[in-house]
């Protein structure tokens, strides 16, 4: 198993967000689905230790997450948040920053292409990108770290259907090409079905279903 969650609970401001979550996430592509407010994004944040559970335990490849050095873990398990939040500067400088943190060689055109962005966007200031472009630049930045696992929080929420299809195709191709594991949070069950081989459904902070996705792609 890639990740295992054991009786995980987490509260924010006294309000429970996740309760008694026990679930496994295998290597491959997993879709985390559920209505908004069901705890999907919070669960994703636990997986690369942007937050820790109030109780319970999260394991990554059989070892408790707390046993990993958090910075090294985040470079291996990259999270792309829903809200685009690039650093000031150009797209290329953001990619360079991420690659440097991960100690990886920098391939700006390659990362942009995989994220569905034109190579000429490299030198564009991030302030001048559309939200959809920013979202894809966030994906390109995560790819610059060559992570083993990519955690994506609503990766296509700001995209029109064409751009969404392009990103979905990119993710499927990435998965085939590099063997990267994906954990994709989505409020859209259709998208989850298209992308996920495994499905984790949350409702009100609890697991409603966890298992192979119905009609999962090969």
């Amino acid at each position: 198993m890639l990740f295992e969650l054991r009786d995980v609970a987490l509260a924010r401001g006294g309000r429970p967000v996740l309760e008694g979550v026990t679930a496994s996430i295998p290597v491959g592509a997993t879709a985390v689905v559920g209505p908004s407010g069901s705890g999907k994004s919070t669960l994703l944040r636990l997986l690369n230790r942007l937050a820790d559970p109030g109780s319970g335990e999260v394991l990554y490849r059989g070892r408790p997450l707390a046993a990993y050095e958090p910075l090294a873990l985040r470079r291996e398990v990259a999270l792309v948040p829903q809200l685009p939040a690039l650093l000031e500067g150009t797209v290329a400088s953001n990619l360079a920053y991420a690659a440097r943190l991960a100690g990886e060689p920098l391939d700006v055109p390659g990362c942009l292409r995989r994220a569905g962005l034109a190579p000429e966007l490299a030198e564009r200031d991030v302030e001048r990108l559309s939200v959809g472009e920013q979202q894809r630049a966030m994906l390109a930045r995560a790819l610059a770290q060559r992570p083993a696992v990519l955690l994506l929080d609503e990766p296509t929420s700001a995209l029109d259907p064409d751009a969404r299809d392009a990103v979905e195709a990119t993710l499927a191709e990435l998965r085939r090409e590099t063997g990267i594991s994906l954990v994709i949070v989505s409020h859209d069950p259709e998208q989850a079905r298209r992308l996920g081989e495994w499905e984790l459904v949350l409702r009100d902070g609890r697991v409603a279903r966890c298992g192979p996705a119905a009609g999962a792609p090969a």
Partner: protein, 270 residues
């Protein structure tokens, strides 16, 4: 200026201007009347008490009294500045360290260089200026730091998600906070003599000192204050920054209670 007598009625007359300030506040609903009243009462009480305290320190001519007085200034400065840093989880410790260090380092330097004699006559007023300016700068810096972190949470977390350290992820907001803490003293140093006349120099000239002496002393004071302000703003922001993060480089929840112990304990300032 020695021998100048100020009557109580003259002070009372000056209060008319305070009434004007309160009237303006009321007219424009700036909601500052209460603060103006508190400021007025506090200024009367504090200055009277401190006036006598300084006289005692001057007359006694004891170094430990000077150190105690400067330590008290740093303590009250940190308490005052903390109120401007409501969004900073741990502010008091960093402020106390910042003000204590800024005061000790700059006063230590000017005494070591022989610029001022280590006597109450010099150390008390210079220490007051240094700590006062350091307090204002670090209060502004921490106030800005709290606002910046709140406004940049998404960006800070996205940077942490890449495996950046808390320090790296907070660097842009710390930079902006530091800048806003220091900018006003840099600007006032730039315009000194043009927009405002520094009190020490004017006082010395009025007392009949040589122009060169008055100018040189004022320049030293400006540089000492500039140095103290940068030390204080730098330390306050660098230390306060830690309170926003956990040891695992996670950005704390804003409604989570402040970390116990407050990271830095600061007895050193006294």
């Amino acid at each position: 200026m020695s021998g100048a007598r100020i009557e109580l009625w003259q002070v009372g007359a000056a209060l008319a201007l305070v009434a004007l300030a309160a009237a303006v506040s009321r007219l424009w609903r700036a909601d500052l009347e209460r603060d103006i009243a508190v400021a007025t009462v506090r200024s009367i009480v504090q200055l009277t008490l401190v006036g006598y305290a300084i006289k005692v320190v001057f007359d006694a001519d004891e170094m430990w009294l000077v150190v105690a007085m400067l330590a008290a200034m740093a303590l009250f400065g940190a308490l005052t500045a903390r109120r401007r840093a409501a969004r900073v989880p741990v502010a008091f410790g960093p402020l106390l360290v910042a003000l204590g260090t800024a005061g000790a380092a700059t006063l230590g330097l000017v005494v070591a260089l022989g610029i001022f004699e280590p006597t109450p006559r010099y150390l008390v007023p210079v220490g007051g200026m240094v700590i006062g300016n350091a307090m204002t700068a670090s209060a502004v810096a921490l106030n800005r730091l709290g606002d910046e972190v709140a406004a940049s949470r998404a960006r800070i977390e996205a940077t942490l998600a890449l495996g950046a350290t808390a320090r790296e992820a907070a660097a842009p907001v710390v930079r902006r906070a530091l800048r806003s803490g220091m900018i006003s003293i840099v600007d006032s140093t730039k315009t000194t003599g043009l927009i405002f006349f520094p009190g020490t120099m004017v006082g010395m000239l009025l007392a009949g000192a040589e122009v060169t002496d008055a100018v040189r002393l004022q320049l030293i004071l400006l540089y000492v204050i500039l140095g103290a302000v940068s030390i204080a703003a730098l330390l306050a922001t660098a230390l306060a920054r830690r309170g926003f993060f956990t040891a695992a480089h996670q950005l704390r929840d804003p409604d989570e209670p402040a970390p116990a112990g407050g990271g830095r304990r600061a007895g050193a300032a006294a």
